[in-house]
């Protein structure tokens, strides 16, 4: 079986998710490298996660599917733009968040901010799934993109250290 980042890359591609905007993260690094290595994708770094969300939202309205990639602390900067753009305008902004702050976190700041993520997503009514098992990755990614697009709602995929190994100190 492939590694998790190849499965995500291939599933995004099969789901016609072409635009990838991100603020980099150590855990995401192999996924970002795999995406940059594939000409199918239009992938680039942004200066803030909010900016990355705005670009993907605009691209959706222009007819191109996209995904925003970030780490947990980056997600914590997003509630305003999700609650005032993606959710009310019904724009399926897809998010992939590498989860810091749990299962061996060494930075108390990361641990605190991570606890705000799922409550914030729930408060905004945003569908989210936590990827923990390699054999479930393709199914969850494919179905999440499909549901986001057909229901015109944002969605968030959280990459657990159970899947990625997380970041060691």
């Amino acid at each position: 079986m492939s590694v998790w980042w190849e499965i995500i890359r291939d599933t995004l591609k099969a789901s016609e998710v072409k635009l990838v905007t991100y603020v980099p993260d150590n855990v995401l690094n192999p996924l970002l490298k795999a995406i940059h290595g594939d000409d199918y994708f239009n992938a680039f770094v942004c200066t803030r996660e909010e900016e990355a969300v705005g670009i993907v939202a605009g691209a959706w309205m222009g007819g191109m599917r996209g995904v925003v990639m970030m780490q947990t602390s980056g997600f914590a900067t997003l509630p305003n733009v999700l609650a005032s753009l993606a959710v009310p305008y019904q724009i399926p902004v897809l998010m992939v968040v590498s989860e810091r702050g749990t299962l061996g976190e060494f930075n108390i700041g990361q641990a605190m901010v991570a606890r705000t993520m799922r409550p914030a997503l729930d408060a905004m009514g945003i569908e989210h799934h936590t990827l923990t098992r390699l054999d479930e990755v393709a199914f969850i990614v494919e179905r999440t993109v499909r549901q986001a697009v057909t229901t015109q709602q944002p969605a968030c995929l959280i990459l657990s250290p159970l899947l990625t190994g997380g970041k060691a100190p």
Partner: protein
């Protein structure tokens, strides 16, 4: 145009609504316009509804990123971001991203009145000396200019419609009240825009 080295202080203070109407009058090829929040957006609304206009209701600072996304998805269409000084100051990094990606079909227009007019006229950083055109040039947007006056603004828009490089135009604006208010029905605004762009039929 590269010989122009106007500073913010040298640019004429013009009417925001008049400038907005002058922009819209130049659009004959279904160009997209993204209106950031505040009076900039309301004057865009008041200048005449176009299905290729998108009106934000929140997400302050995201007019440039949204316009960039539209421009990437539709490289054959010219896209304008209409943003206020207070808004663009929240997302200056986006100017570097626009420059780095060389989004050639994107033109950013900054309506700079030096205040957060909608919240009571409190002074912004540009009102205290920050020069958004100089910031844009520093971020890598080579074609960044202050509009000297109405005629110069019109010439810059003509340039924007034909250039293949990202552009930013700074406009000093007055503090006149906006001439309308946008509808507050987000799915409706989004749906109309997507049909205006030909994404939905």
């Amino acid at each position: 145009m590269r010989n122009e080295t106007l500073t913010r202080d040298q640019a004429k203070v013009m009417g925001r609504f008049e400038i907005t109407k002058a922009l819209v009058a130049k659009l004959h090829k279904d160009e997209a316009v993204i209106g950031g929040i505040g009076h900039t957006n309301w004057d865009l609304w008041a200048s005449g509804r176009r299905p290729q206009n998108f009106y934000m209701l929140g997400s302050m600072g995201l007019a440039v990123p949204i316009a960039m996304g539209v421009a990437i998805a539709q490289p054959g269409r010219k896209v304008f971001a209409l943003e206020g000084d207070g808004s663009v100051l929240m997302q200056l990094g986006a100017l570097a991203t626009v420059a780095n990606r060389a989004v050639g079909n994107l033109c950013i227009i900054i309506m700079d009145n030096g205040t957060y007019q909608i919240t009571g006229g409190q002074i912004t950083a540009t009102g205290q000396g920050a020069d958004i055109v100089a910031i844009a040039r520093g971020a890598g947007i080579v074609q960044a200019e202050w509009a000297r006056d109405e005629a110069h603004f019109a010439a810059l828009m003509d340039q924007a419609l034909v250039t293949n490089a990202p552009m930013l135009v700074g406009v000093r604006t007055d503090d006149q009240k906006p001439f309308g208010q946008t509808e507050r029905d987000p799915p409706q605004l989004r749906d109309r825009f997507m049909r205006g762009l030909g994404v939905k039929t």
